[in-house]
Symmetry: C2
Subunit: 468 residues, 2 copies
């Protein structure tokens, strides 16, 4: 059976047995209950616990042996000492996919390392694959699968995540359309999951949280291929000495030399992110926005101060403020007082207030002009966060219309608020306009979109000359 079929048992199981289901329900940490009543898993679920006979009106089986079918996936939620025996039972029953949640294996002492090796040996002898240990297991919003013991909001995002912390299942990151917490990575690893997501129609973007990669050669081989089909983002902490040591006690990973990781990511075409915020920014950007086909940023702003910030950020991220075409400059001149210089970034206020066009009409005219300009590859606008959504400063409809009229160019914005809030939703709900919490993050996002576009174009030089 190839990796794809093996991973399918984990992510698209027709049936799941949860071994070690707690008896307590109603507080959100019972995976059996969550699958049935919170995530509404589309397949069959069996509860296993030798100390219970019934949970929520469902039969509980004393061991996996009594479960009336060979489930696609067994989730082992038992303490570390019990894992080898339960793995043996699963293997004996013919189960081929095992998610092991227990902590205290290679992430801890010598006994833990020994146990982990034993688990791997038993699984391999039965032809079973293992996710974990020290893992939250798997999640798939499309079929209601989530084996984490915390309830979390799931969103139908076309993102496949491979991570070494379950915490990322349990957030509003919106990173996990489908997710695999490979934990200590005793068997299933990054390359396996990349190969699976490569062909998964539900997945358009892949996000990695990496503490350590064991088989670097295979990773490079697979990732280099996949990254050119679907963008891959990677968060790789452990740069510091102390951080590297902690990866050892967290997931039993060798953090490795950070410079080597940097080089590997570059070689593969993986976009390395600085932190969880960039990860979340880019996940949203790649899902919502069209490619950024060049470095040239156009900007429309209600504050000249933000133009300065954008210029600094463009320099930091290798982007440039676009030179506007004579046509665009002519239009700006027409709607500006005589003393205004028609350049990029465009200050909205003189046209809106001094020339009396009104904010909405000035915004509409100028944003469309920027998007129409062939010298502009993508646009940032800055508007104030509104105390009330009614009124002349709400230009969300105009932004949405303009973005929809020029679907081939990304439109991003900052709403003068470093804490995202309801204003953002207003701008995002009916369009591809995407809101970020600072001008710098708008620029960084466009830069990463461009970086990825450039990677893909490198393979098609005949097209590259056309769009560059």
């Amino acid at each position: 059976m190839d990796t794809k079929e093996q991973l399918k048992r984990f992510l698209e199981p027709r049936s799941v047995a949860v071994i070690g289901v707690p008896r307590r329900t109603g507080v959100g940490d019972n995976v059996f209950e969550n699958l049935l009543h919170f995530y509404h898993f589309s397949g069959r679920v069996y509860a296993v616990n030798p100390n219970a006979t019934e949970i929520l009106g469902h039969r509980v089986y004393p061991s996996i042996k009594e479960v009336p079918e060979v489930v696609d996936l067994a989730v082992l939620m038992v303490g570390r000492a019990a894992v080898p025996a339960v793995v043996r039972q699963c293997v004996d029953k013919g189960i081929k996919a095992l998610a092991v949640t227990a902590q205290g294996l290679a992430d801890s002492d010598e006994e833990g390392k020994r146990l982990q090796a034993e688990i791997v040996g038993i699984a391999q002898s039965g032809g079973a694959r293992v996710i974990g240990p020290n893992s939250f297991g798997v999640a798939n919003v499309f079929n209601g699968l989530n084996t984490a013991f915390i309830r979390s909001e799931m969103h139908r995002v076309p993102i496949g995540s491979v991570i070494q912390t379950g915490l990322f299942f349990n957030s509003k990151f919106m990173l996990v359309g489908k997710g695999v917490d490979i934990g200590n990575t005793c068997d299933i690893d990054f390359a396996d999951c990349l190969e699976y997501f490569e062909h998964d129609q539900d997945v358009r973007l892949i996000a990695l949280h990496i503490e350590g990669i064991k088989d670097g050669r295979r990773f490079i081989q697979v990732a280099s291929r996949v990254a050119r089909k679907k963008p891959i983002l990677a968060l790789k902490p452990g740069r510091s000495v102390k951080g590297a040591n902690l990866t050892q006690s967290h997931s039993g990973s060798l953090a490795g030399n950070d410079k080597v990781y940097d080089a590997v990511f570059r070689q593969c075409g993986i976009i390395r992110v600085a932190d969880v915020e960039e990860l979340a920014d880019l996940a949203r950007a790649f899902v919502r926005l069209p490619p950024m086909r060049g470095r040239r940023v156009g900007m429309l702003t209600a504050s000249g101060a933000c133009a300065v910030m954008a210029a600094d950020a463009c320099q930091s991220y290798g982007m440039e403020l676009a030179e506007l075409s004579p046509e665009t400059r002519r239009l700006i001149t027409q709607v500006s007082p005589p003393w205004a210089r028609p350049g990029n970034p465009i200050d909205l206020v003189p046209s809106a207030l001094i020339q009396g066009l009104g904010t909405q009409e000035a915004f509409r005219l100028l944003l469309n002009a920027l998007l129409r300009d062939k010298g502009v590859d993508g646009v940032i606008f800055v508007m104030p966060t509104l105390a009330t959504q009614k009124g002349t400063w709400d230009v969300s409809a105009q932004a949405s219309d303009a973005a929809n009229s020029f679907p081939e160019k990304p439109v991003v914005c900052w709403l003068s608020n470093p804490r995202l809030n309801g204003s953002g939703d207003l701008y995002e709900q009916n369009s591809k306009v995407t809101v970020f919490p600072s001008v710098e993050r708008c620029v960084r996002t466009l830069a990463r979109l461009y970086q990825y576009h450039h990677l893909c174009e490198e393979q098609r030089p005949e097209e590259a000359t056309k769009v560059e």
Copy 2:
């Protein structure tokens, strides 16, 4: 009259005349209407517009001459060409505080520069001070003053802001308890405002947005003194060549050499922030949190992955993960499975789930132990964002109790969500616990709190030896 008295007319006026009030109401951009019905300004307000006689049932005066008192503050909302004549009228009437909103002065062409010089000359001849031009004016949440032409939420925060963009009045930054947009800074400048806020009982923190400082010597003299009484944060964009050029056309400022600014801020003890997000983070932190008295960070986390991120961030920001005392280590050992290593950061999950203490009880015990530890100067905790606020993973009450029991140590957290949301409010509402959108920003904030504490201690060496 000294600067303090002059600034008082701007920020605590008993009466305000708005010259150039638009006739249109109901869409949020009428300053006269906003002062009366949105901000509920506590003083008297007069509307001036030669083309109107009544707005919202209030008499409109054809010019400032007819206004029946010598107002404390006149806000000039007229086009650039009209400003000198109106300034003359104000001066003739004896008004001593003028806020000029017009764009197109030193921020634009030669004619604009000439007009600005003319404005300054007329004001000086009458002993009047000028804020602006190219300014949103002033704001003061304590008396309902806000002369920006956009409605914005105001919050009663003990923060005085001096900025060169009105956009920062109009956000949910919560930067502006009192604010002055000095715009082109033809007269009132940073040093004047710093001196005012130095003695303002409503202000505990000062935030600056700087495009350029004209009188560097005086700024250093004043800021060095004030920074040791109240923390001063500074955002200074314009590092790049293009950014520096844009400050010229935005506020008519000379951006100057960025390295010089860096040195000036260091010399004064001003905390320079990287961007609006750090500005907002630190504003919240300094207002909500006690000092960080050393570099030693304690951490309690639901994810070992975040421990790695924290270690990296500590290295970046000059902080260190605390060595725990034998007592604390003993407590951890007592509530952990035998294979767990009792170190810092503390992993919550083994105690909570494997030892069966439950999340809330384990969290309570461990957070209190960290705060009690004399080797820990401040604490970060990481918990999952919750899909539902009920349930065992909601530890907001425990966090609040612990933070209140140890009021001398800052407690900050990340809730596994890079977009701040309702979960944050839950943790912040009844305590000083302060939520940030990443582990890195938690660490950075503690580092800046420590940096400021260290600055203040430098002046008191006998105390410094005690707390270091």
